[in-house]
């Protein structure tokens, strides 16, 4: 591989890459992101490779394993270009048919298409599927078009053009100014203007300076950073290199969770390729600018997503946050000025430089420009990653893109902003999503997790769950966070177990206020949010748990009993055999009865009871009806003739 030494050489290479490609050549794309791999896309890829070779098509038909397409619900996903025919939930067995029917004869296979759950209408073209149609995939869209391990693929979609523009047409100050003008706010949660941070780091005294990518994505239910890193590592590296040039840094670090093996692997390949080609290292493209990157694996600590903790971890220490100021932009890694941004923020940089700040800022709201990638998960029909313009309503995200709540259940709340975010109820569905509006609603943007909850989700349990998580992840440095959260967890657990007492809420409120006021870092300051926001919007659920010992969502195990309705029981023996505690009595033609004394409310009976019977019921907050007398339990089957 030859090292590229000038802008002209890169252009020549890009010209060669493009001349070998024709947008009309058929190309098969299979998603090989972590989500689809878990659904079996590796086998699909292998099947395609051997099938294409067997049919002698491997020369005429392009084939590519890509990063995450976002529609994880329907994986493994296969898209056939140029027509953009999108096949969902493809298995290896479907592959020969796809090759012989669609690739060879241009016939669409109906059963693999997207089916609208409401109208039963089928959609063949990827961009017509509602999940994709309402998105604006300017950052994340590249994933679908490139093999993350191929630098040529990235070049072919105008990759590294923004770096060339920065290095050869702009001064570092102009780059900073452009990012400032774009008003790019940090996508990792803080929402601090990236350009302002860059300027502080640039002007701060001290050499050397550092740039860092924060890929310590720890929020449960959020995986957009991983998917960007897996699917388009060159995009992140290009943004980082531009940032380094603007700030005057020659060394960069990528801090990435070691639980992301595929992202680590693809990033490693990308760095290797960029180095070989002279896009990293000394004298990049003959511009005289030196810059290289080191990868640092995170060893698993949620708090290391906090920038001061992350930097200590980079130095090989325990990641405990320290007070700010001084901010890392002034005193960061090894005490030197360090600019740290999240993966998605860096991935937006080539876009801003390439298309210009004005084009970037044309999308979005007054205070939040551009797009944001959200991880739409939980009780939602279309789980996946969605990129939408800032200012879109929650309703559009959840219903138009997400397809609403599955199984005919009702929407209850959406939780945004990760563990220390907040829950927004149905009244808030028309809220226009951006940094400021979410904060006003008592939640936050965070890194972009959006967890949808339906009527079966207990909000007290949700608060308990997040408080439990945060208490576990508290580094232990500040007392209000370490001890306060532990007490909050204890009280919330007690309430969900039906042991709540008068005064619990007041104590929770006091602890919340102290943690918020007196913790050093964002983890502690925002940790009371799950309780505060659920209490603000779902006060009645707390009251039902404490006063009536009732869980309105029928979710808290200790407050729920299972009961078999004798009118509906068909004595089919299914629940009786499935009960792990063996507490169901009955026999063939004898109505089944649960021994309430011994039942531990595991719920297996409800799960296995055939849906046409619906005999098992959940009861909370009221007496379980007494078992019917033994002499009335026999079911007399009427013969068909009468």
């Amino acid at each position: 591989m030859t090292r590229i030494r000038s802008r002209d050489e890169l252009e020549a290479w890009r010209g060669r890459v493009l001349s070998g490609r024709d947008a009309d050549t058929p190309c098969i794309t299979v998603c090989a992101g972590t989500g689809c791999l878990a659904s079996g896309s590796r086998a699909v890829i292998t099947a395609f490779e051997s099938e294409l070779e067997e049919q002698g098509l491997n020369v005429d038909v392009g084939f590519r394993g890509t990063g995450c397409h976002g529609f994880c619900e329907k994986g493994p996903i296969v898209v056939l270009d140029p027509e953009e025919i999108c096949y969902l939930q493809v298995s290896a067995d479907d592959v020969p048919e796809i090759v012989s029917e669609t690739v060879k004869d241009n016939r669409v296979i109906e059963r693999l298409l997207y089916v609208d759950p409401n109208t039963d209408e089928k959609t063949a073209c990827e961009s017509d599927i509602p999940f994709y149609k309402h998105q604006q995939r300017v950052v994340f869209g590249a994933n679908r078009r490139i093999d993350p391990r191929s630098i040529e693929d990235y070049l072919a979609i105008d990759g590294y053009q923004a770096l060339i523009k920065s290095l050869f047409e702009m001064t570092p100050e102009e780059v900073v100014e452009e990012v400032k003008r774009a008003d790019l706010r940090g996508r990792g949660g803080g929402g601090f203007p990236a350009g302002v941070k860059w300027e502080i780091a640039r002007n701060a005294p001290g050499e050397p300076k550092y740039v860092v990518v924060n890929c310590d994505e720890g929020d449960p239910g959020a995986y957009m950073d991983r998917s960007l890193m897996e699917g388009n590592p060159h995009g992140v590296l290009e943004g980082l290199t531009i940032g380094a040039y603007a700030i005057g840094a020659h060394e960069g670090y990528v801090y990435i969770r070691q639980e992301y093996p595929l992202a680590l692997e693809n990033l490693g390949v990308a760095i290797g390729n960029a180095r070989d080609r002279g896009l990293l290292g000394r004298d990049i493209l003959g511009s005289g600018f030196d810059f290289d990157v080191t990868v640092h694996r995170g060893a698993g600590a949620f708090v290391c997503g906090e920038e001061t903790a992350l930097l200590l971890s980079l130095e090989g220490r325990v990641g405990e946050p320290r007070p700010r100021p001084p901010y890392p932009a002034v005193e960061g890694l090894w005490g030197k000025p360090t600019n740290i941004n999240n993966v998605e923020t860096w991935a937006n940089v080539p876009l801003i430089i390439g298309r210009g700040a004005d084009a970037f800022a044309a999308t979005g709201t007054e205070g939040s420009k551009g797009t944001k990638i959200f991880s739409l998960v939980g009780k939602i029909a279309n789980t996946g990653l969605v990129e939408v313009p800032m200012g879109i309503t929650l309703r559009d995200v959840i219903y138009s893109i997400g397809g609403g709540i599955p199984n005919g259940r009702r929407f209850k709340a959406v939780q945004t902003g990760g563990p220390s975010g907040g829950c927004i109820p149905e009244e808030g569905l028309d809220l226009e999503v951006d940094f400021d509006e979410l904060t006003k609603a008592g939640s936050m943007m965070g890194s972009g997790g959006m967890i949808v909850m339906d009527e079966d989700t207990c909000m007290v349990d949700v608060a308990r769950y997040f408080t439990d998580f945060l208490s576990d992840e508290s580094c232990g440095k500040c007392v209000p966070c370490r001890e306060g959260l532990r007490q909050m967890r204890k009280i919330l657990t007690r309430i969900t177990e039906g042991e709540g007492v008068e005064g619990d809420i007041e104590v929770l409120e006091g602890l919340a206020e102290t943690a918020r006021e007196a913790s050093l870092c964002a983890l502690g300051k925002t940790a009371p949010n799950p309780f505060l926001s659920t209490y603000r919007y779902f006060r009645s659920e707390y009251e039902a748990h404490i006063h009536e010992k009732r869980c309105p969502a029928l979710s808290c195990k200790e407050l729920v009993s299972y009961w078999i309705d004798p009118e509906r029981c068909k004595a089919c023996l299914i629940c009786l055999k499935a009960c792990p505690s063996e507490v169901i009595t009955g026999a063939k033609r004898t109505i089944h009865v649960i021994d309430q004394e011994r039942c531990n409310s595991c719920g297996v009976c409800l799960e296995v009871c055939p849906s046409r019977f619906e005999a098992v019921r959940k009861i909370s907050g009221e007496e379980v009806p007494p078992p019917i007398p033994e002499d009335q339990r026999t079911i007399v089957r009427k013969s068909k003739s009468t």
Partner: protein, 150 residues
């Protein structure tokens, strides 16, 4: 794991004290736990006090100071899995293995751990055994999955 191999790992990181966490991760990934002798060797070679190594080994979740089982079971307790019934899946695994999170059984068959998010939220509730993902599990299916591991 031999001292020779540990030295090799340290050399790969050029013996820098700042690479301490990376070196410990390499040992953990290869050996699945961190024996005391290995950590002592690392401290000696890097000139780092043992107390700091212990601090790191207990602070970060990736490290284990006790041996792990043949099959490493990770039950996802991420938010998406939680609202889709992960607690019941975990309960089933705990019942069947007799383990709580963080424990390993005496014959070193299973190690059980809860993790915060495996990032396969579309498949929730999810558990991962030795890197293989099993998704959309009910408690009953969880039992079938576990029984397929010897």
């Amino acid at each position: 794991m031999t001292l020779k191999r540990i030295d090799q790992i340290i050399n790969e990181h050029e013996g820098e004290a700042s690479a301490l966490i990376q070196i410990m991760l390499d040992i953990q990934n290869e050996h699945h736990w961190l024996p005391r002798e290995a950590l002592e060797r690392v401290g000696e070679r890097l000139g780092v006090p043992f107390s700091r190594i212990q601090h790191i080994a207990t602070f970060y979740k990736a490290f284990s100071l006790v041996p792990k089982g043949r099959h490493r079971v990770h039950v996802c307790m991420g938010t998406a899995c939680h609202v889709r019934g992960a607690p019941r899946v975990l309960g089933k695994v705990e019942d069947l293995t007799g383990l709580k999170s963080g424990e390993t059984d005496l014959d070193l068959k299973f190690s059980l751990e809860t993790v915060n998010c495996l990032g396969c939220c579309a498949l929730g509730p999810v558990l991962e055994i030795n890197g293989t993902t099993h998704g959309r599990l009910s408690p009953t299916e969880t039992a079938d999955v576990l029984s397929s591991y010897e």
